[in-house]
Symmetry: C2
Subunit: 298 residues, 2 copies
């Protein structure tokens, strides 16, 4: 026999357990009207009243009680089934897929603190430029740099970023760079990412880009930053990756001008991964670290 109005049954179940439409609505993060409508729909379909609506409280009719005992068994069973799949083969190893640049320039320097807080969890950092397929790869969570919304995974936004020009202090002195137009004579270093090239950056600032020399492209922002540190030229860097070098003096931020990136850093994983204890801990930790970073490098 086909089952119809599944949601109706589920909403009924939650309402019956709470004996309140309001609380059910709250629990399910919908409005109370939604519950009311679903329950009414179910009652219509079954041709029977399930709740007795009295003043400011509801109670179950005979039919409602009968049905509730079954829905309880049913949905408990479903929950169990789903949560069984959540079992994690290795709860003490956290496998994180990260962009190589973010890994080496941001995450690695900070990971010590995570280990100090949670010594029982060993972290396996997997630098990877491609998108993670959680169905085939055994990854707990990944850090992406993108638009922040994807179809098949849940995401947690971490921070935005912005782009600016930076180089080694000595290089700046050598070439006596003071304003954007001074870039013309220099070797420009850039990432191969489409959103991180000089063309884009200059255009965002309203400058004509074609008058600038072609740049040297690296696959990976960390290489760009390292190139700049090695006085190769002027790098277009992400604040998140370059900040600490600017602070230490290994790099100088060349102009006031900077461009906010369209992309943000975020954590991404299938919904159920976020229920793993180790993943929860990692999320909390990295969010704190992000706040710290933003506070320290504004």
């Amino acid at each position: 026999m086909k089952i119809r109005s599944l949601t109706g049954l589920y909403y009924f179940h939650i309402a019956a357990t709470h004996l309140s439409f309001k609380e059910a609505a709250n629990y399910l993060s919908v409005t109370q009207a939604a519950i009311s409508q679903q329950v009414r729909g179910l009652e219509d379909r079954l041709g029977t009243k399930l709740f007795i609506r009295s003043h400011r409280q509801i109670s179950l009719t005979r039919d409602g009680q009968l049905l509730h005992s079954h829905t309880t068994a049913a949905f408990t069973s479903l929950e169990e089934g789903v949560s069984q799949l959540k079992t994690d083969s290795d709860p003490y190893t956290l496998k994180v897929s990260v962009l190589p640049s973010f890994a080496s320039l941001w995450l690695v320097p900070r990971l010590g603190s995570f280990n100090k807080q949670h010594p029982e969890i060993s972290v396996l950092l997997l630098p990877d430029n491609t998108l993670t397929d959680f169905k085939t790869q055994d990854i707990d969570i990944c850090v992406r740099y993108g638009i922040g919304r994807y179809d098949d995974v849940q995401t947690v936004p971490l921070m935005g970023d912005y782009l600016y020009a930076a180089c080694h202090p000595s290089y700046q002195k050598e070439q006596s760079i003071e304003q954007v137009s001074d870039l013309k004579g220099c070797l420009l270093l850039e990432d191969a990412r489409p959103d991180m090239n000089w063309d884009y950056w200059l255009k965002q600032l309203g400058k004509e880009s074609t008058s600038y020399p072609s740049a040297l492209k690296y696959e990976g922002s960390n290489l760009v930053v390292e190139g700049a540190i090695a006085s190769q030229g002027i790098a277009l860097v992400r604040h998140s990756l370059a900040a600490k070098f600017v602070r230490s003096g290994a790099l100088v931020k060349l102009f006031e001008q900077q461009v906010a990136s369209d992309f943000i850093y975020c954590l991404a994983a299938p919904e159920r991964h976020f229920e793993r204890e180790k993943v929860k801990l990692f999320c909390e930790w990295i969010q704190k670290e992000v706040k710290q970073f933003q506070k320290n490098y504004t």
Copy 2:
């Protein structure tokens, strides 16, 4: 814990039981693409593959098997719960709510045959002009005359109907009525229903209605028919109700002109009532009777 993608779980369950998306789709009366998408959605959400897709057949993964055992328990329980509400307090009494006119002129004369076929079922005919509220009234099924689609009940269409003018043969002779314009001198009988008055009828035929005398209204089409039989005047009748009188000679259909009604007769009841044996039998019987009627009175 909140359960998400309930439909996904259900579709998975059906697919897993049939071990075929196609059959599952068939069973659920949706396309196979819908199953594919729901299952994929569930797999994405859980972050695990549930089926192994091989050529022209699917099989369950370990996770799939695990989940399926739970969904089986769950959905069986739901089905039970729902079907328990379907219990009928008195399976041998069929309570039918019908329009008084249809009851007396169409249904009652035929009911003997139902009783002959199913002597164990006693029929309780409840003539009622108002809409039936199945939640408060203890009715198995009702016969309505309307548009054939309602929000809160399932309907089974029986037949359309059409309207024509009829009167007693002697009245026709007396007033020597031969064409529609001859109506002008006569007493017109009509139903109080908005769709069954002379105005509407004449307009449908493209005649000017205002030039005809005001009519005598009765609450209930049977009264209209009976008025005509009693030679009171000319009745606007529904074929379904007048046919047998026309056949027997108690009434004459006055002109060739007739107007198809916007409404149809249909059976209506909450979905679950249709699963009661007595209701099923009644549906079958009345559908046969309708066919018979249409065949005999064309």
